[in-house]
Symmetry: C2
Subunit: 341 residues, 2 copies
DNA sequence: AACGTTACCGGAAACGTTACCGGAAACGTT
DNA sequence: AACGTTTCCGGTAACGTTTCCGGTAACGTT
């Protein structure tokens, strides 16, 4: 493994000069710089970024902690992040948390040992211990979700979609179609987005004076099969509902699947709206009305936040909420008795 | 930022002793070790992995270069890789190549500057320049695809699914169902997997003495819309075909979509088999017969190859091909004239 | 009591790089 | 011709670790 010293010796210059050639330092003659750069290519030398990090006290690396890169939602965010960070000369070190608090701590610890310059994280549980660690960090941190009340004192930025507004919009669409007996299939309430989407659903109903009860709400999970079980339970409790809002597309697709298998017609018998706008939601058999999230934009903006804080040297807290758009497809339609008119 | 020196001074010991406490070195009394570990927690000190890498001449980092993390195929591989590597104490540095040769070189260069201990890569074009770089690497390298003929001299390992066999199996299934007028919708031939799948298709036909021509083959692309256009063109050229083998699931799903929209019945009119077994391929409306690939296994094994080479200190070349399983669902059935019997 | 062995610890060098300082040559100015 | 300024370069310290060497104290053995 060649070092800067080898290059210096080989070319008959000092290490300082080689370093200058590498770092666009002006204190070097044009010809010597060219000679050195040529020599570096010829002897195929690669600088040691770790040694550089050591003395410069910045690593040019940013940590990215996600629950699961397999989730298309996150992988697209990751793509956006990688795009802007690599363009700015940063490397992304990625760690899977798998929603496991222990793994989360472990991964964070190893990222910090690597002396990352910044951190982008979709926090899971974030127990007290982890909260303390995050609190003590003196690097830019961006949360990929809204800050909870008890996290407000943290000096971390956040970026997220406005889940409440988006859910409200989706339910409002159903109500405008004449539906007044709705059902909700939700993801776990522990996740803040789950709570916000439920709140949007409920508030919309309340504002429009539409009655509802616990029978109209089922907390199912996050995957297709949960959606299947979700509708089934929902229709047991309230058989005469005409519209369903599912808190994510996979739940909605699961619901659609169950409905199709049980001879319900969509949207004639039941309208369904989802949340996330997966690629498959536009398929011929699905054509799901859903809320589109600016996934890549979340990644791009979160990375930009880190870069900005890093270049401005001041860690300025920022909380942004991105807007969403409702995509209306064929899974929602006017309620039956209105069609009779 | 606290260093090991601060800890040493604070606790009245030498830096060597602190280092010993951190690295499970036996030359330290139990009580002092405990005292130091306690002190480290209390003063919340994090070791600097870059400094450690510098002197140990190994970074405990492995590079992972993929074309696109958004692809569910790769993201699941990435998950498997991350799982075993992090368990072995390695960190994964991830870089997107986006199938862009320039970006590929750039990313590889920055990974090498980071002095990664190993590299797992799904190479794209791999032009001469890149080939040279890879050739000169003295770290374990694993390709996530079969080595091409002109790459055989490289000291890199490889892992892949047996695309030829798998395709053969899929087509054989169709022939066993009585089909003798088949069509192929392919991904680009440039990708070696595309070529191998086509070869499997052709050889199976030849071995069973089934005639075919260029009219039975369409090279479409990789996405759903390409599948749509693919079938259309295929049916224009050979309207009387009864079965289609699509080189990946998205193509197959696109084909199914177009067939559904144009009032073809599947499998009564046309049987369709895909390749990859995406999660959505099992959906009620799709139920695609397809080849299941051990995605996560690819990730796990590739990571293990790197770990093994790293621990055995000898870079031993290894080329593995994993088996696949044909998953038979409802998109394939006996050919019509056989059903008449 | 003398010795060898073990257990434990501190000091200093080294890893590959950049930052800083100082100096020599070249140049321009008066 | 004398001086100040600029241009360019080399030497050395520093970054935060680990590794190596050496040394002291405690212990056991004869």
């Amino acid at each position: 493994m060649k070092t800067i010293k080898d290059i210096a010796k080989e070319l008959g210059v000092s290490v300082s000069t080689v370093s200058r050639a590498l770092n666009d330092n002006p204190d070097i003659k044009k010809e010597t710089k060219e000679k050195i750069l040529e020599g570096i290519k010829r002897l195929n030398y690669t600088p040691n970024a770790n040694a550089r990090s050591l003395i410069q006290k910045k690593s040019k690396m940013v940590g990215l902690m996600l629950s699961d890169i397999t989730d298309p939602f996150f992988s697209e965010i990751a793509l956006g992040i990688e795009e802007v960070l690599s363009a700015e000369g940063y490397q992304v070190i990625y760690g899977n948390t798998l929603l496991n608090p222990d793994k989360e701590k472990e991964v964070l610890s190893s990222l910090l040992q690597r002396k990352i310059d910044g951190l982008i994280i979709k926090p899971g549980a974030l127990d007290e211990e982890l909260l303390n660690i995050v609190e003590q960090l003196d690097i830019p941190v961006v949360f990929l979700r809204k800050l909870k009340e008890y996290e407000q004192h943290l000096k971390v930025s956040s970026i997220d979609v406005n889940h409440y507004e988006s859910a409200y919009k989706a339910v409002d669409h159903l109500i405008n179609l004449g539906h007044d007996n709705l059902g909700f299939i939700g993801i776990s309430k522990k996740a803040s987005e789950g709570e916000d989407r439920l709140k949007g659903y409920i508030n919309c109903l309340e504002n429009q004076n539409i009655s509802y009860s616990d029978d109209n709400i089922v907390i199912a999970g996050t995957k297709i099969e949960h959606g299947r079980k979700g509708v089934e339970k929902l229709l047991e409790k309230t058989p005469n509902l005409t519209a369903i809002f599912a808190a994510n597309d996979l739940l909605a697709i699961g619901a659609l699947e169950w409905l199709a298998e049980n001879n319900y017609k969509v949207p004639e018998d039941v309208s369904v709206v989802g949340f996330e706008n997966l690629e498959i939601s536009s398929l011929h058999w699905i054509k799901l009305t859903t809320v589109d999230l600016p996934r890549k934009e979340i990644g791009v903006q979160s990375a930009n936040m880190v870069v900005n804080m890093l270049s401005s040297e001041t860690i300025k807290k920022e909380e942004v909420e991105l807007d969403t758009t409702l995509i209306i497809r064929k899974s929602t339609g006017k309620v039956k008795y209105l069609n009779i008119n």
